[in-house]
Subunit: 186 residues, 2 copies
């Protein structure tokens, strides 16, 4: 196959779509983000890249807390709205109903099926963006979106983000830590 160089760019194949929640001057705001993942197993941590220019960034610094909220494919419109409009221009505190968990300052979006409450662990200044690493203090879920006490993507119907578009999750193609057993060396 023919490989071609495409130049350096911030590429990732597929990403989650989440809403980063923070209190700015005591009021909740949410911004859409896709540059998020798990950062550590033990203690459990997640991370999200947030532009320095973002209004939500102020809230993360003010409180040392933030949340990641997982919207469903049925919430594409309010989710995308939080990525278009800045909290510095428009009050986004009413886009989702907020509730608070253990930390008291990380707003959690009630309508989102899963909410991850985080205490800021580290901020890595990368340039245009600061990578926010947060220790997960609690995960909340709608009971109706869980199976055997765990979040269930068939019920959550999360949004996959790729090349400036939103997608659902596709068909299963295999179990992890299982498919590889079929591997035979050439």
């Amino acid at each position: 196959m023919e490989k071609i160089p495409l130049g350096p760019m911030p590429y990732m194949s597929v990403m989650p779509t989440v809403l980063v929640g923070a209190n700015v001057e005591g009021k909740p705001t949410y911004m859409t983000a896709a540059w998020a993942t798990v950062a550590c197993m033990e203690p459990p941590m997640v991370c999200v890249a947030v532009s320095k220019a973002r209004y939500t960034a102020k809230g993360i610094d003010q409180n040392g807390t933030f949340s990641l909220n997982v919207p469903s494919v049925h919430q594409v419109i309010p989710t995308d709205y939080c990525g278009i409009v800045s909290g510095s221009r428009e009050d986004k505190s009413g886009v989702f109903r907020s509730f608070y968990g253990k930390l008291g300052t990380a707003p959690l979006a009630e309508e989102c099926p899963v909410n991850i409450e985080c205490r800021l662990f580290s901020s890595v200044d990368c340039g245009s963006h600061i990578l926010r690493v947060g220790e997960v203090v609690e995960v909340y879920a709608d009971r109706s979106c869980t199976t055997d006490g765990k979040p269930d993507i068939t019920k959550i119907t999360p949004i996959v983000y790729a090349q400036h578009s939103y997608f659902g999750v596709g068909n299963p193609v295999g179990k992890a830590f299982s498919e590889g057993r079929k591997y035979r060396k050439a």
Copy 2:
């Protein structure tokens, strides 16, 4: 809706499936990872959480370089194999053909449709895992997996990772920076 706390855990709704490549003592090895995302727009950076116990971690430290390689759904078996078997026990240098780019020490898996070549920028010790932040020095793609010079997921057919299983990308549910314009305040 009824919210229930599920306890702190390393949760993310959906994730990419990638192969982290590094040279350990001059020889390429690949490990499967899902805890990866973009870390910065400018300069372009990506990050991936790698367990301290991983053989591949040695290579990242030895060279200060690594790669993220995007396999397709047709490569689930060799991809998952690289997550089951440790490079300390089995030589994984033959699972993929390796090529090298600008840095010379970050092996890139030729069979994977997209390859991201990285220079280590920062290592954040989170506990069980170290978050490896890398500056993207080049992105390579199979010409057949691009459209107008950009990677195209309809041709790449990347693997989505969620709750210990692999999935394809599902149906489109909207364009980013567009759907939100339909939002009307309650």
